[in-house]
Symmetry: D2
Subunit: 357 residues, 4 copies
């Protein structure tokens, strides 16, 4: 259990790294939505391994196939099923991991929880599962487009290399470089750092920033399903994520209320806030300002070095780095962050339809 | 909707700041749990307003009453209802707020979402609702005690005043001072800062750290309901929270994998990790190490100063600070963080009962 | 678990026969609904014990109190809590039942499932819990009124005494007699039968028929949450119910398709069906015709006679009839059937808001 | 929405009559369950069209493929996905139905609810979807086998041809004839009736009886999720079902309590009931006796005759019978009833793991 996300726009993902494939069933997508299959594919291409010199060199084409829920190009109200078959599954690459636990991976906990584990490439715990999220998220984006909501994300930090705040950036430039940082100068430094880390046979962490624009006022379901709580839940459920903050975040805790409060102002009949420490959400409900948040990704656990560990019997063992992995996960995490944000926003857009008589 | 938390240990809270009271219905508490009503009351007393010089001076006795679900001192498997009647509800204090929106409060968003709002003390958006969470969390703690799980939290930072890492602290000292920081020297500085802030008619933010000890290996339900995602969701749902991180958190994003990975070691037949950057959770599942996390609280939005705002008609207005409020919320947030952590852990303890045939 | 009903209009009931009281929390009632408290009370009065000579003579005033969720007479979007305090709780009446299991009651199964039981008046398994449903159902009715949906139920059979089909009845006459059968001649016979049964210190079963008029086309969520499946689930969850059928029901199984199919006809621009064996639901979705269904109630298990049973240790024991009970439950079940139907319809009315883009 | 069934053993089905195929994702199947793929296939073969002279002559091989969730023959705790590709999809057979509504089908309601419909073979409303249920139910049966629970169903009535009560039947004989009635003499008459009905180009309804043996005491989650309410919900969600009753059912409503109550008796240290009008469930919880219930199926709506109807514009139209359909659905409904019963029982078996501390 735990593989379904969302209350009304409800997505169940399935599949493992080295099984038949990964997929998603969306139950609750409203009928009549035009599905642009090529858009879903483009989103998947952004997450695909082997897309650039700074990602894993594994080759997977990640072709999406729609198994159900569409008629004459539109959703019918029936469950929409998206499937991405696995390719290039070199299961033998992983047989040496059947008996040992990789440090800071899910090997040990899966084995203890379930009594057995699919050790091939991490099985269900593999980040390959996120392909299904990206596909489902693309459908959510299509739904959000009908309401004018825009979702974007970018790499805001790699190690200690940090981009300027989002409000100073042109987010349409995110895809202009392979690290997905809209600031060209910062991007160059990030790429150089990742290259160095890869040469060191190591990995490094970073931060992805998400920005949601033009969300209508009123999305969020307090007291437990506050909009930012749902966004945090969504982001923390992505592999390798260690933290989430929105608006002023952790930095805001150092401020005084008199500086932190966002004064309301009326501009041309519309109510806005002069500042936006609130991050577009007040009392758990969107207030019409930009929603922005930061997602912390740890360094990838798979490194090309020998590491100390134990085997299934509790004896000391060495885990050697093998396979083709990302030295830094954040460039490929950008579409995943967007996808999860889209799933949240689509769900809350529907939930808000029931707020009033 | 959005007022129920947890899948199996499922808590629905209700009530407003100035209505009859607040309460919680727990559906799914296993039968046969001995309920120590005085323990629930003690937890509520830790959250109660007016408990010290650095909290709001509102006087509320917050007496819990059990309305259902108990027979001869034990849970019966029926819903357990906890109710805390409101007292000292000076509704007139708030009548001036009927027409204006307090900056960085939920006034504006509630009105826009629901079309009307209970403006008395924030209504449902008031932190008074968290009394119900603390009461329910106390029951969760009693359940967790039967499994040996220990939940604790403390104030780790106020503004820029920061305590040493939790591993260097004696957490049994948390209640020894009014700011709830187990390090006496740091506590003293924190209290001085809060006193100064109050004299300045201002507020300040801070951080609460949670520590969960002796959680069994195996709690967490990937891929979406990872243990830390649920904890993050729970914490972000608390009023005034702006961020959540666990284990190495945001700082971990600056590290390399070779330094960040936690090597497994076998000690006396048990498998442990030498370091704990993972924060006791790997792949979304508890690994038996300490679970620790940080929760960022913004400065309280209610300040004793005049603030720029607008009224319901979109005209400029001034909001004046009135009433009795906390200059810093974190001391009283400690039991709330513990309660939410307990609700998560109780739920996942039950969910894990179905992991294996 | 199992005490929450409905996905969007979500009702959690709590309370026992001899505790503080029973109540319901409604999470998901849209904001802005005018709440007529006296209407809720009238609905409760229809369910109240002691209302006539053919019901139990227990006296309970069943006064409803709204604990949360209302501001200036309207729902606010916050959870709406309804509470009915217990009175006349003669707990000693039941002490003799602590050690034995009443036949065809829930005593044995509750004890085996939960390991203990509140034996006072059946505890949570008491039909007293349905007072909470009636209160919540009254709110659902108010919501449905805004959409023009009408819910009614009546007693269509007691033992072998049966009323004509609903289409031949004037349902506004239901409350004109104490047995709640709109056909006066049948009602008279039913009352006489119940009187006789009571004199025999026995009980008898019967059928309640529900009719839902003016439901919009389109309510129902296939494939699992078909409208009639949800209605069936709702009715079967009422104490003492043994069966549910809608439209042609069990009798329809004897028919041929050529006779059973409902031809579509166009009348004044509107599409209708000439017959209504479908019971207003096709493919699990309302089609605009009357929705009608039958609910089977077994004879009340508590009889004023000695009965063979066993005690908690598995030894033979005699259970003697004591207390004040209904000789036939269906007259008081009418408002409960209506309430559960209203909860279903309110939920599906909201769910349908998300059917289309 | 509405395509997920079960709280812990949670099944989401997808797919349409004439799309790529139908399938099911099971989230919450405990890890370590040995999956016998050939058993799943055998269950599907029992539901398969074209299996005998009294079913539709459409030929579909209905081969199941497991897409995820299995490793070395066992469930891993990850979602288990079962997929059955469509074959023999003669979409053109249905093009004539694009513009008219078949009487007593879901054509009209789907179009009105969703604004469009996949008219090819009924799309999502086709009984083809139940293949996914049978596959998922087979997995549930495997789980139930580990607890000793046995699920069986059979045809107890076709039109007016009725089998003796289940207690007089040898249920192992169900598969010995094509109508799936364990009583050979009754079966013969049923087959003759169905043959006649087919020759008449008509259809006929019937009843399937389900029997669940060796369920442990304690399954069921009052007050709303009573075991029989969940069974009723499950059965009513099957295409063409019009009614559900368990134990004494509608007939029990004619009885007196003194005759209907089931006396408890102690046999060899075990507590049983002398009679079983309760149908193995008391207070919504299994009591260890046989659980039995009856499911009413209407005559199939598709008949080989011209029928009066309207088109999408509300004009009178004639629907002609085409294609290959079942003259009576109950023989093929038997494995579907079993599957749905198995899904309920598996879910409640898991839910009961959390009943006690």
């Amino acid at each position: 259990m735990g593989n379904t996300f969302g209350k009304l726009f409800s997505v169940t993902t399935f599949g493992e790294s080295h099984g038949e494939g990964v997929g998603a069933v969306i139950d609750g997508c409203p009928a009549g939505l035009q599905i642009d299959e090529s858009f879903i594919q483009r989103e998947l291409d952004r997450r695909r391994p082997g897309q650039s010199s700074i990602t894993t060199q594994r080759k997977e084409s990640d072709r999406v196939k729609i198994l159900s829920g569409i008629f004459e190009g539109k959703t019918t109200g029936a469950p929409l099923t998206l499937f991405i078959a696995n390719e290039d599954a070199r299961s033998k690459d992983y047989s040496h991991l059947a008996e040992t636990f990789r440090p800071s991976h899910a090997d040990y906990t899966y084995e203890k929880k379930y009594g057995l584990r699919d050790y091939r490439g991490g099985g269900r715990s593999s980040a390959r599962e996120t392909a299904a999220r990206v596909a489902a998220g693309a459908v959510a984006k299509l739904l959000l487009q009908t309401a004018g909501v825009e979702i974007s994300a970018y790499v805001s930090r790699v190690g200690d290399i940090e981009a300027p705040p989002y409000s100073q950036l042109d987010l349409t430039k995110t895809e202009s470089n392979i690290v997905r940082c809209p600031d060209a100068a910062t991007a160059e430094k990030m790429i150089a750092l990742i290259d160095q880390v890869r040469l060191d046979r190591d990995t490094i962490g970073g931060v992805v920033t998400g920005v949601i624009r033009h969300a209508p006022v009123g999305l969020g379901e307090p007291v437990f399903d506050k909009l930012h709580a749902a966004l945090g839940n969504a982001m923390l459920g992505i592999n390798a994520v260690k933290g989430f903050e929105y608006g002023s975040g952790f930095a805001g805790t150092r401020m005084r209320g008199s500086a932190h409060n966002d004064p309301f102002v009326a501009e041309g009949g519309n109510i806005h806030t002069r500042t936006n420490y609130s991050g577009g959400i007040q009392g758990g409900i969107s207030n019409g300002e930009d929603i922005y948040f930061h997602v912390a990704f740890k360094p990838v656990a798979t490194i090309m070095q020998d590491q100390e560990s134990v085997d299934r019997k509790g004896k000391a063992a060495v885990v050697s780095g093998k396979g083709r992995h990302d030295p830094c996960v954040v460039p490929r995490a950008v579409p995943i962050v967007e996808a999860m944000a889209a799933l949240v926003m689509a769900d809350f857009l529907l939930r808000d339809r029931c707020s009033r008589v």
